[in-house]
């Protein structure tokens, strides 16, 4: 078994706003092994982006703050690391790609300038070597005419090309973890296919671990080994991609998968989860999904469900997965059915 390079334990990131304290990330734990592709799935506002920003220590403060929890990167707790140390790690050992390739490149600098900057900050190399390395990176991510593109400005490139440049910058220092926050959401399907293909290739060749944040279960099926489903600031289910997509256990994951229109299935009415995602607030008791859940019962209002372990290291935050309880509810369902 390979080592875990990143371990997040009970992370709480809260935002202190005029309307009170908001627990955007409320006790998230997850880990990434070397060379693994882990997906975080969830709808907008579930805390998936805040989790990734917390890892990079990029939470705007104020109003945001990591209240408690540890982020363990190869034995080092990033939450308490100094700014100087974080700067060494950021972009070097852990790097990130953002959703909007249009806004995450500086429009005033050439592409070459921006890649060289990333390399020269972290490695002691001459300008010339940095230049060479930059061209190499651009070729690696499949940009034609790499030498010429070095002198282009971001507006001269298309969305797909810009995202490739972002990946080139992120990969320039051979990071151990690449965090990709919705890397293909702003792109068209044919370009998305190209970018996913590229990320898969880089993951295989360089053994870079990837933390992919997305709302698209199709993208997850495409490249992830393991999936973490988040809802309202918490992890609600975790398992391998196949397990989650084929046999989801948490009612939320089940609903999410059933509500996708399928390309290869004949018509039927789309399933939809009633209601909307609750706003996170402090001191919530009980299951956060209870108001939209088909299997809601009394216990969901009284206790906070923990992440129950299932077979194969799977986890599910639902009382139905609690052994004793599960039987009770299944019996009850059987009774209703009969």
């Amino acid at each position: 078994m390979t080592e875990e390079i990143l371990k997040i334990k009970d992370l709480h990131t809260h935002f202190f706003t005029d309307n009170g304290e908001i627990p955007a990330v409320d006790g998230v734990s997850l880990s990434i092994k070397k060379g693994e592709v882990v997906g975080i799935v969830g709808e907008s506002g579930c805390g998936k982006s805040v989790t990734s920003l917390s890892i990079m220590q990029l939470i705007p403060s104020p109003p945001g703050k990591i209240v408690s929890g540890t982020i363990d990167f190869k034995g080092e707790n990033l939450v308490h690391a100094s700014n100087k140390r974080i700067k060494q790690i950021r972009g070097n050992e852990i790097s990130m790609i953002f959703q909007e390739p249009m806004t995450s490149l500086d429009p005033l600098f050439t592409i070459g300038n921006q890649i060289r900057e990333a390399i020269r900050i972290h490695q002691k190399v001459s300008k010339k070597e940095a230049n060479q390395k930059s061209v190499e990176m651009l070729k690696l991510v499949g940009i034609p005419r790499a030498e010429e593109v070095m002198n282009d400005y971001p507006h001269q490139l298309s969305g797909g090309m810009r995202q490739r440049v972002m990946i080139a910058i992120a990969m320039a220092c051979d990071p151990e973890i690449l965090i990709a926050d919705e890397p293909t959401t702003a792109l068209d399907v044919t370009i998305q296919a190209q970018i996913l293909d590229l990320m898969k290739k880089l993951n295989e060749e360089k053994e870079t671990a990837v933390l992919l944040i997305t709302h698209d279960l199709g993208v997850v099926a495409e490249i992830c080994d393991r999936v973490v489903v988040m809802y309202a600031g918490q992890v609600v289910e975790e398992g391998t991609t196949r397990e989650i997509l084929k046999d989801p256990r948490h009612p939320y994951s089940q609903g999410l998968i059933r509500s996708l229109p399928k390309l290869h299935e004949k018509d039927q009415k789309l399933y939809s989860i009633p209601g909307t995602v609750p706003k996170p607030k402090m001191g919530m008791v009980g299951c956060r999904f209870r108001d939209r859940c088909r299997f809601v019962h009394e216990r969901c209002y009284q206790e906070n469900p923990e992440l129950f372990s299932l077979e194969n290291n799977r986890l599910s935050r639902c009382f139905l997965s609690d052994d004793a309880e599960g039987k009770v509810v299944k019996d009850a369902e059987a009774n209703i059915g009969s």
């Binding site: 279960l217 199709g218 997509l245 996708l260 229109p261 390309l263 290869h264 009415k269 789309l270 939809s272």
Partner: protein, 326 residues
């Protein structure tokens, strides 16, 4: 055989590019370049394509929110591109649109009541009490409640706002609704709620939709027939099952194979296209797709393929099925 409610023939929309010292015209962007199709009454026609392929421009040209450069649009056998503004205004009662972004398409300074009652007022419902009743009724039809009428758009979530947009479009009992990416700004669980609502409304009010989207699985779910656009041209148009089971045009095939499926067991025979969509200001000669097409032939570079019916109700614009090859 049903009668077509909407017929589009040879629709073109060129935008001028201005430049130079005097702002003279130095080029054209061919956003929509000779598109023809018809929509039957009660049908849902999906239009898919990547960004910049002209699908939204097509939708807006039909309503003359953008003036088409050339071609004709017939609504219930009436040619509408030549109508005066006043006649067009009256006709818009029957043709409505739902926009993509529920955050930008509702005026933040108006209450929901005002937003929904405005089209009623314009089309002659002068009685305030009547309007109030109708707004309440519309809100209930789209799954909101009457008491929501006094609220402002920012008090609603994205899905609820899109419901308000739908209620506004329904206000005057239209026959045709152009839906311009109505669900692409929404989360999956909300998206399915809106799709179901739209289907219910179609059955309830006997509506006809032109459903524009970039998400192939959404279009497949809701449409009866689907048209695929590339660089301002319609490349394939047929029944949805035919299109998804037996796509003819190489671009359609590539597009379908590029969709990531949420199922780890599906065998993937990927056809990854190289490069980007060319600029519509300088589209490739001949077939616009030949620069990325894996099956391109010599003839594709020179001759623009005709949009022809190669099988029953299956229109394709590709030389592979044209007389040049056979």
């Amino acid at each position: 055989m049903q009668k077509p409610i909407l017929e589009v023939n040879g629709l073109k929309k060129y935008f001028d590019i201005k430049g130079g010292v005097f702002g003279r015209k130095i080029g054209e962007v061919k956003a929509v370049d000779d598109v023809s199709f018809s929509v039957m009454s009660g049908e849902i026609l999906g239009i898919v394509g990547e960004s910049g392929c002209g699908k939204s421009t097509t939708g807006k040209s039909i309503l003359r929110l953008i003036e088409p450069s050339e071609g004709e649009v017939k609504f219930e056998d009436q040619e509408i591109t030549k109508l005066s503004d006043e006649e067009m205004r009256k006709l818009r009662r029957n043709m409505q649109i739902i926009f993509q972004d529920p955050y930008a398409s509702l005026n933040p300074r108006h209450t929901v009541e005002k937003i929904i009652s405005e089209p009623l007022l314009i089309h002659g419902m002068k009685n305030t009490k009547e309007r109030k009743e109708r707004v309440k009724e519309l809100l209930e039809v789209v799954g909101l409640s009457g008491y929501h009428a006094s609220r402002y758009p920012h008090q609603f979530s994205g899905g609820q706002r899109q419901r308000i947009g739908i209620a506004r479009a329904l206000a005057n009992n239209p026959k045709l609704i152009i839906c311009d990416e109505p669900v692409s700004a929404l989360d999956v669980s909300v998206q399915s709620q809106i799709l179901n609502l739209m289907e219910d409304l179609r059955d309830q009010f006997n509506l006809t939709y032109v459903f524009i989207a970039h998400d192939l699985s959404v279009v497949k779910h809701i449409s009866d027939r689907v048209g695929v656009m590339y660089l301002g041209r319609m490349v394939e148009l047929t029944d949805k099952d035919k299109l998804y089971d037996d796509p003819k045009h190489p671009y359609t095939r590539a597009l379908l194979s590029a969709v990531p499926l949420p199922d780890p067991d599906v065998e993937k025979d990927r056809m990854i296209l190289k490069g980007d969509v060319p600029s519509p200001s300088n589209p490739p000669s001949g077939c616009a797709f030949h620069t990325r097409c894996p099956l391109a032939m010599d003839v594709c570079k020179e001759v623009r393929p005709q949009f022809e019916e190669i099988e029953d109700n299956h229109f394709v614009a590709c030389h592979l099925y044209g007389p040049a090859v056979q």
